[in-house]
Assembly symmetry: C2
Homo-oligomer: 636 residues x 2
């Protein structure tokens, strides 16, 4: 059949080229493109090897055009989806969209002016052209089943025109138009009662002065359009600095507005996904740490009270609900000292604050965006690892010295368990340019932070232990150690890293406080506390931490330890202590292993084995007793 | 600079083509290829849009050849690695290698005879040719920095020759030679004292008969070469069936051997990674379930005792240690009824039994293979989710009806939380052909198995609860319910799904046994057991399961519940029960939430909030007392 096709119609070649310029159906042209490409890729080589003759190319294509176009009209979908996703922009976001798409076998095509843009090598095809050149965008639109963006600075008018022609744009052109003008964006969200910093437009020095008088200084001045990574922002610390700040932004004609200074304590972000059925799902709230206005580190989940998480998620949800179209949206937020959440801005696309989702969530923001725009059900946005931290690899110096330092950083990252290195393969390095990113996932933020430190060489060389302890064993006095050592022994037997400390509730109350309050952040997941007599340590520690506390009553000189048992176990409602038998630190260690086993199949398997071994020991004794009789057994 | 290049040297075009056929350095040619390709992709379009004239193509390439080749000689590595990885074979394994490589910005090129092989669209370039055609392989080798395989049925002699010429092959040609001949493989491993089923070569009916006499029937007959997915295996149930089985395999001349029938209870597999520094890391042991000799389902980790895991890992480790070269290896094993581990066979490459690692492990088998062959440190092979299950999407009927049924399966998979769909984008469907796979990850195998069932529509419609309970609340009698309900209330408050059951140790011992033994497999992660008087339930249940058991002493008519407390907390060494205060089921619920919070940052944040709210309540009361005085407070 194939070999036959070689002999058919040598002529339609040009005709085909012609066709898929005019073509209105999105499919034939794209498929032709792919096939031409595919054929050229392989053929030019197979030609070198097998001396084929090049002229065969186009007729192959023409043949496929028919078959594929038919297929799409009449036949069921093969695989996940056959909708070709057209992405305006081919930067790292487009590249990571292509990576997610290739897993599902979804075809992504990109429009980007740079021939060697990051997405180029992975895209089903890359059309070289500008995403704000309407001719290019219209031409591009013919080749895809749905049109989406990885950057909001595209020609919104063209998108609106295309929508009128029936092109499926996700998110909608209206959304792009609102978001790409930061002032319109603010107006839109304030109309929808989304909390945000006060703002007003300025057209001249007088209006700027007035704004300064209203909002006070420092005053944030922003340009309405083409602003990203802090470009387009300027701060005036006083009225004197107004003119200079405005000048730095290119003058009033550029289109400027001012924002009341938002004295935030943390910057938060929420990735929100909207399905084609308008269902909305929110990713966990993350903390974003910027340096020179560029995203530097992202911590997921954010270490903020649950109330704040709920509030941030609610604001993000409402903000996205007010916009039209499917896809993922990134909502950047300010958390103020008085616990308010203010909206900073929204991006109608995957976002740097969501890169961690590739490794840490059940559905990455990139797969989610594809699911949304092609009309598949949304995936689960929740985290599959307790914590994740993302570090942006930003361009250091220009050229080779910068590459060298970056390569050394990557070398250290590759040695860190749970770290994944993403490299965008950009041809040149420029200062502050996003060259790649590193995501570390693990069992607690405390552990990840120390790993990040050592990756960045910020820690005083090797002052922290090689392995972060997962269990903290504490006791009121060294006289408890002969009992408490059994917990340490068990944890060692199960290869669970633990630390052993003396922390007295009555003699070193401050130390007890700081230990209990810092334990979780240091990566401690469970605390085993032993105490005798009026045993207050376990209960006090349990009151100061959200992690499980296991209490070991240690037998004191009097009352056989019943006093310790009752003072540990009889805790008031609200503050539980997992109490074990008097002096039975072995069971405390085993209980800690069972708790960790809930999320660690490996440990749970070890526990099953431990239980079988204990059973076998008893069976052996039983057999010995049966064989030898009770006298021998006792005399032995 | 670029625009300049357009005007330079139109002539070298052909010369360049010539060059990178002759070229010995791996880099120039590949880079040229990429650039040619890239340029053709974009240019043919930009030409249509902007009326460029095609002749410019090659000189661009020639320009880049120089720059890139220089770069590789003199300058530091940009990004992760600039070693171009050449892969013999471009099937789904090659495709997934390309996906892992694109994340790290590593360039992968593939040699495969199929123009539209799964890896073709993702490979840096795809050379169309056969991986057992030595001319093609030698030509291909010139274009890569390291040569590896995704299939072992390649021309080993050529690899040996290339190694002598200094080409870096990982794993080594010697390994490929041993493994591609199953008989040689068996001889090799038996020489290295790896346990495996007895085997012997057969060249004629007499030797086959002799084998039958030695090993008995059923007898497994295998062809030495080109065997995979069960092809090349035949079973003779009796001497009468020998001839027919041998005939089915193509006769004695094909090269046959027999294996003693291995009566296994489970098939296990271990992915083992070997770094270029010879460091070796093993992935968790998985269970593989085959259907018609093709991998059907993989469960990670395997549900076998720890001893078996250690034994399987040890055998796999020793098997791989006996082979040469870097990369990942898949070791397929039999577990026999008497707890023996026998080696079945080894694959010198990523493997179907390791697909789950993409979503479930810190480093996927594909990233690991790339790290190994390009000489980077190995990544962490351990699991980041407690459990994973992989289901192969195999071709159903030929053609469209098959595609339709597959598409319906995928539709159901997309609705399952934690499920990821991989589609290999193969042009045609054939029965039993691997078209893609689905991986589901989650908190326990029990949950995943019920999700798989509902995906495959094997469950009697909706007979199981929508959400699998994570906590089981059990009590000795309904008279305990007024106390135990408080645990259920707390779990409801924290959105933790729980089930409530009456299970008496003394009145329904069998039910207690079956409940305790099945809890973990059903997805129960923690058990809260309440009992009064001689309270044996918590301790007995703890003795029958490896998951944490929380005991609630319920106050009986006499002794104020001290009897219950002591009979629950005073457990012997080896069997811990996390005991809370008498009648304090609230604390039991909170303790369960703290335990689950160890692996669930979301729950932990909620717990922090809960503690703050309780504190605020007390502060309010304190303020009220201070304001109104103690009399008003008491009278109120």
């Amino acid at each position: 059949m194939l070999s036959l096709s070689y002999h058919q119609s040598l002529s339609p070649a040009v005709q085909v080229r012609g066709n898929h310029i005019e073509s209105s159906s999105p499919f034939p042209s794209t498929f032709t493109r792919r096939l031409n490409l595919n054929y050229i890729t392989s053929s030019s080589l197979s030609w070198m090897l097998k001396q084929h003759s090049p002229p065969m190319l186009p007729c192959r294509a023409s043949l496929e055009v028919q078959s594929t176009s038919n297929r799409n009209k009449d036949l069921p979908v093969h695989g996940v989806s056959e909708t070709v996703v057209g992405v305006l922009g081919g930067g790292q976001l487009g590249r990571m969209l292509c990576q997610a798409a290739s897993q599902m076998g979804i075809k992504v095509i990109v429009l980007d002016p740079m021939e060697n843009c990051p997405a180029s090598v992975l895209a089903h095809y890359h059309m070289v052209g500008s995403y704000d050149d309407s001719a290019a965008v219209e031409e591009f639109a013919k080749r895809c089943g749905v049109l989406t963006v990885e950057i909001e600075h595209v020609d919104a008018a063209t998108l609106e025109k295309l929508e009128q022609q029936g092109v499926d744009c996700q998110p909608k052109a209206s959304t792009i138009r609102i978001i790409q003008d930061k002032y319109l964006q603010k107006v839109h969200f304030s109309r929808h009662a989304i909390p945000l910093p006060k703002f007003m437009q300025i057209d001249d020095f007088e209006s700027a002065q007035r704004a300064g008088d209203f909002y006070g200084y420092p005053l944030m001045i922003k340009s309405r359009r083409l602003a990203y990574d802090g470009r387009g922002n300027a701060v005036a610390k006083s009225e004197e600095e107004l003119a200079c700040a405005v000048h730095a932004l290119g003058g009033y004609d550029r289109g400027l507005y001012v924002e009341k200074w938002a004295p935030f304590v943390k910057e938060l972000a929420v990735i929100v996904a909207r399905g084609s059925d308008n269902s909305i799902l929110c990713y966990p709230v993350v903390e974003t740490i910027h340096r020179e206005n560029i995203c530097h580190v992202v911590k997921a989940p954010a270490n903020v009270p649950w109330k704040i998480m709920k509030l941030a998620t609610d604001v993000a949800y409402r903000a996205v609900s007010s916009l039209e179209g499917a896809g993922v949206f990134a909502v950047e937020l300010f958390l103020t000292a008085d616990g308010q959440i203010l909206l900073n801005e929204v991006a109608p696309r995957p976002h740097n604050s969501g890169h961690h989702t590739i490794e840490s969530c059940f559905t990455s923001q990139f797969e989610q965006h594809l699911r949304a725009v092609v009309g598949l059900p949304l995936g689960d946005p929740s985290m599959k690892t307790p914590a994740a931290i993302m570090y942006n690899i930003l361009g250091e110096d220009e050229g080779e010295p910068g590459f060298l330092r970056t390569h050394q950083l990557i070398g250290r990252a590759l040695g860190i368990p749970g770290a994944t290195v993403h490299w965008y393969d950009k041809p040149e390095m420029r200062k502050q340019r996003k060259m790649g990113h590193i995501t570390i996932v693990g069992s607690s933020m405390g552990i990840l932070e120390s790993q990040l430190k050592s990756m960045l060489r910020e820690d005083i060389m090797d002052d922290q232990p090689a392995v972060t302890p997962r269990v903290g064993i504490i006791m009121g006095s060294d006289s408890d150690l002969p009992v408490m050592k059994d917990a340490a022994k068990i944890l060692k037997e199960f290869d669970v890293p633990a630390e052993v400390r003396i922390v007295s509730a009555h003699r070193t109350p401050e130390m007890m406080f700081s230990y209990a309050l810092s334990a979780r952040e240091r990566g401690i997941q469970i605390i085993i506390a032993g105490a005798g007599g009026a045993a207050h340590l376990p209960g006090m520690v349990a009151a100061l931490t959200p992690i499980p506390v296991i209490g070991v009553p240690v037998r004191a000189s009097v009352l056989d330890g019943l006093d310790s048992l009752l003072s540990i176990v009889q805790m008031p409602r609200g503050v539980p202590v997992a109490t074990v038998a008097i002096n039975n630190a072995t069971n405390a260690g085993l209980l800690a292993v069972r708790m960790l086993g809930v999320g660690d199949a490996d440990l749970q398997a070890k526990m099953v084995q431990y239980q079988e071994d204990r059973r076998d020991e008893v069976l052996v004794k039983g057999e010995k007793l049966q064989r030898g009789g009770w006298e021998d057994y006792l005399n032995a």
